[in-house]
C-alpha cells in the first residue's frame, strides 16, 4: 500500500533530478567533442598542412614552415582549452555566488581590472616576469570584483541583475579609460600591451602555459570544493544558514576561486568576455542546476567553445586571424540579449 503510494512521487523526483547516467552521458559526449575540436585546432589553420607534417610536428619536429606552423598550434590549442574551461567555471561560480543570471567575468569588469593592473605594472613598475604579472592580474581582478559587487548590491533589493550589470559596465568603462590613458603615450610598451585590449590565444607558448597552470589548477580545486556550498547558497542566505552552511565562508571561498581563475587566464590571454556567461546557461539546460555536475560540465563545454571560436577565427578571415575575444563577443552578446529578454522587468 505504502509502496504504491510512494511510487508516483519517486518517479516524479527522478524526472526532476535527472538520472545520473544521462548527465554522465552528456559529460562523455562533451569530452569527445572537445577531443575532436582539439585535434581540428592542431590540424586546421591559415596554412594548409599535410597529415604527415602534422604527425611529425606532434612528434616534436619544427623544421620547415609547415611543421613550425603546426608546432605553434599545439600550445595555442592547449591555452584555448585551459582558458575556456577556466572562464566557464569562473562564470558559473560567479552566477552562483551573486545568484545573478548575467554574471560573467567580462560583464562584471573583472577582466578589465586584471588588464589595468597588469598595464599599470608594466608601465610604471617595470613588471616583466610572467609570474609576477599573473599575481598582479589576480589582485586587480579581485579588487574589481569586490568593487563591482559592493556598488551593485547597494540599496534596496541587493544585487539585482540590472544593478550588477550596470555597475560592471560602468566600472569596465572607467577601467578601459584609465588603461588607454596609461598606454597611449607609451609607444615603447604598446606592443606588449596590445594583448590587453583584445583577448586572444595566438601568442601562447609552453612557458607561459606552465606559469599559469598552477593558478588555474588551484582555482579549479577551490571552485569544485565550493560546489556544495553554492548549492546551498542557491536556496537563499537564510535557508543556507539554517542548513548549517557558513554563508560568508562559502561565498567568499567560491568567489576567490572564480577570481583566481579569470585573473590567471586574463594574465596570459587578455580579456575574453561572454564565455563565462553563455556556457553555464547552456549547461544548466542539459545537466541541471547541481553545481557538482554543472562546474565540471561547464569546464568541458567552455573548453569546447573557446577552441571552436579559435578555429573559426583562423578559418573565416584567412590568411589573417580574428582574435578569439572578438568571436566570443559576437557569439555571446546575442545570448546575453536573449537572457535579458526572457527576464521579467521586475526581476531586473
Amino acid at each position: 500500500m505504502t509502496s504504491t503510494a510512494l511510487a508516483p512521487a519517486a518517479s516524479g523526483a527522478a524526472v526532476v533530478r535527472r538520472p545520473r547516467r544521462l548527465r554522465a552521458l552528456w559529460l562523455l559526449i562533451a569530452a569527445a567533442v572537445l577531443v575532436a575540436l582539439a585535434a581540428a585546432s592542431v590540424a586546421v589553420g591559415s596554412r594548409e598542412v599535410g597529415w604527415d607534417d602534422i604527425v611529425a610536428a606532434l612528434g616534436g619536429a619544427t623544421d620547415g614552415f609547415d611543421r613550425a606552423a603546426v608546432a605553434t598550434r599545439i600550445p595555442r590549442t592547449l591555452l584555448a582549452v585551459l582558458a575556456g574551461a577556466a572562464l566557464a567555471v569562473s562564470g558559473a561560480v560567479m552566477q552562483g555566488v551573486t545568484r545573478n543570471p548575467l554574471a560573467d567575468p567580462g560583464i562584471l569588469g573583472v577582466n578589465m581590472g586584471a588588464s589595468l593592473a597588469v598595464v599599470t605594472g608594466i608601465a610604471f613598475f617595470g613588471l616583466a616576469s610572467a609570474s609576477a604579472q599573473i599575481w598582479v592580474a589576480i589582485v586587480g581582478a579581485a579588487v574589481a570584483a569586490v568593487f563591482v559587487y559592493v556598488v551593485g548590491s547597494l540599496g534596496r533589493g541587493g544585487a539585482t541583475p540590472l544593478k550588477l550589470a550596470l555597475a560592471g559596465a560602468a566600472t569596465s568603462a572607467a577601467l578601459v579609460s584609465f588603461t588607454s590613458a596609461i598606454v597611449l603615450p607609451r609607444g615603447d610598451i604598446s606592443d606588449s600591451v596590445r594583448s590587453w585590449q583584445i583577448g586572444g590565444v595566438g601568442g601562447a607558448t609552453f612557458t607561459s602555459i606552465q606559469q599559469v597552470l598552477p593558478f588555474v589548477l588551484a582555482g579549479f580545486a577551490i571552485c569544485l570544493l565550493s560546489a556544495r556550498g553554492l548549492n546551498s547558497l542557491a536556496l537563499g542566505d537564510e535557508l543556507a544558514a539554517g542548513l548549517g552552511e557558513r554563508v560568508a565562508l562559502a561565498r567568499g571561498g567560491a568567489a576567490l576561486g572564480a577570481v583566481v581563475l579569470c585573473g590567471a587566464v586574463t594574465a596570459i590571454a587578455g580579456p575574453i568576455g561572454f564565455v563565462g556567461l553563455v556556457v553555464p546557461h547552456a549547461c544548466r539546460l542539459l545537466v541541471g542546476v547541481d553545481h557538482r555536475w554543472l562546474l565540471p560540465f561547464s569546464a568541458v563545454v567552455g573548453a569546447c567553445l573557446l577552441t571552436a571560436a579559435d578555429i573559426l577565427g583562423r578559418i573565416v578571415a584567412r590568411p589573417a586571424e580574428i582574435d578569439v575575444g572578438i568571436i566570443t563577443a559576437l557569439v555571446g552578446a546575442p545570448v546575453f540579449i536573449a537572457i535579458v529578454r526572457r527576464q521579467k522587468v521586475k526581476s531586473l
Binding site: A170, A173, F274, A333
Partner: protein, 350 residues
C-alpha cells in the same frame, strides 16, 4: 476674502514666483555657459606652442594674411576648435534628447550602443572601404539609426521598459565594439597608437573637410530637435497623458530619434566617439539648471564646453598630448560609477 481664497492666491503667487525664478536661473546658466565656451575657444585659439595675441587671431578669422598665425591658427587651431565646439554640441544635444525621451540618465547613446554602432560603421568605412568624410558620415548615420531601431525592437515586449532597453543596449554595444576592434586590428597601415587614438575620440589633425559635415548636421538637425523640446517635455508625463494633451507621441519619438542619432553619428564620424560627453552633459546640465524647464540647450552647451576644455587640458596639461576622449573618459567614467552608487543608495528607480 475668505481664508481659502487667500491661501489659494498665495499658492498661485508662489508657483508663479518659483517659475520665474527657475526661468531666470536657466537663462543665467545658458548665458554663463555660452560666455565660458567663447572664452575657452578664444584661449585655445591663442595659446599653444606659440602664443598669438588676440589681434592676430582676429586677423586670421577675418581672412587677413598674418605671417605664422595664418597657418597655425587658420589651418590647425581654428578647425580643431570649431570641431570641438560642434562635436560637443552634437553629443550633448543628442545625449540629453535620448535621456529625456527614455526618462533615464543611463539611456544615453554611448551606453545603449548607438555610439558604438556609429563608430563601428565609421571605422569600417574609413579603414576597409576608404571612403571620404561625407560618405563616412552618411554610412555612420544609417548604421546608427539601424542600431537604434534594433535595440528598440529587441527590448519591445508589450511596451519598452527602460531597464530592459539599457541592458540590451549594453549587450549590443559589446558586440559592436568587438566589430570595431576587429576592423581596426586589420588596418595594416594604421599602427595601434593611431587606432586607439581614434577609438577614444580625438581632434588631432582636424581639417576643414572633416568639420563641414558636422557643421551642416548641427545647423539642420539641432533646430529640428529644439523644435520638439516642448513635445519632449510633455511626453515625460507618460504616453497616455501626452497624447491627451495633444502631443503625437510616436511622431515626436521618431523625429527625436532620427535627429539625435544624426547628430551623434556625424560627430562620431568626424571626431571618433568622444567618451561619455553624451552621457555626462545631461546630468551636469540638470544640476546647473535645477528642476523644471527643458535641458536641451543647457546640455548642448555643457557638451561643447566639456569637449573644448578637455581637449585643451589633454593637449597642454600633461607632458604628453592626450586625445580628448581619454580626458573625458577619465573624468566621465568615475562620475558614471558615482551616479550608479547614488541612485542605488537612494533606492530610486534607475
Amino acid at each position: 476674502m475668505t481664508l481659502l481664497d487667500r491661501a489659494r492666491a498665495s499658492t498661485t503667487d508662489a508657483v508663479q514666483h518659483g517659475r520665474a525664478a527657475r526661468a531666470r536661473r536657466r537663462r543665467t546658466v545658458i548665458v554663463v555657459l555660452a560666455l565660458l565656451i567663447a572664452v575657452m575657444a578664444a584661449v585655445s585659439l591663442m595659446a599653444g606652442r606659440t602664443f598669438y595675441p588676440p589681434a592676430d587671431v582676429i586677423g586670421v578669422i577675418l581672412g587677413q594674411d598674418v605671417p605664422g598665425a595664418s597657418f597655425t591658427v587658420g589651418r590647425l587651431r581654428l578647425p580643431r576648435t570649431a570641431l570641438a565646439v560642434l562635436a560637443g554640441l552634437s553629443f550633448g544635444l543628442g545625449g540629453v534628447a535620448f535621456q529625456t525621451m527614455l526618462r533615464n540618465p543611463l539611456a544615453s547613446p554611448d551606453i545603449i550602443g548607438i555610439s558604438s554602432g556609429a563608430s563601428a560603421a565609421a571605422a569600417f568605412a574609413i579603414v576597409t572601404l576608404s571612403l571620404g568624410a561625407t560618405e563616412v558620415s552618411v554610412f555612420a548615420i544609417v548604421v546608427g539609426l539601424a542600431v537604434a531601431l534594433l535595440i528598440y525592437l529587441l527590448s519591445y515586449r508589450s511596451g519598452v521598459a527602460g531597464t530592459r532597453l539599457i541592458l540590451i543596449g549594453i549587450g549590443v554595444a559589446a558586440m559592436l565594439d568587438s566589430v570595431t576592434a576587429y576592423v581596426l586590428s586589420q588596418a595594416a597601415q594604421w599602427d595601434l597608437q593611431e587606432a586607439m587614438r581614434w577609438l577614444t575620440g580625438s581632434l588631432n589633425g582636424t581639417s576643414w573637410p572633416q568639420v563641414l559635415p558636422v557643421l551642416v548636421a548641427v545647423a539642420v538637425l539641432s533646430p529640428v530637435l529644439l523644435g520638439q523640446g516642448r513635445n519632449l517635455a510633455v511626453s515625460q508625463l507618460g504616453d497616455d497623458t501626452a497624447s491627451a494633451l495633444g502631443v503625437r507621441v510616436d511622431r515626436t519619438r521618431l523625429i527625436v530619434i532620427v535627429a539625435a542619432v544624426g547628430l551623434i553619428a556625424f560627430a562620431t564620424a568626424a571626431a571618433g566617439p568622444i567618451a561619455f560627453v553624451a552621457f555626462l552633459s545631461g546630468p551636469i546640465a540638470a544640476r546647473l539648471v535645477g528642476p523644471g524647464g527643458s535641458l536641451l540647450v543647457p546640455a548642448a552647451l555643457v557638451g561643447a564646453l566639456l569637449v573644448v576644455v578637455a581637449d585643451f587640458v589633454g593637449q597642454f596639461a600633461f607632458g604628453t598630448r592626450y586625445p580628448v576622449g581619454v580626458v573625458t573618459g577619465v573624468l566621465g567614467a568615475p562620475y558614471l560609477v558615482y551616479l550608479i552608487i547614488r541612485s542605488n543608495r537612494s533606492g530610486g528607480s534607475l
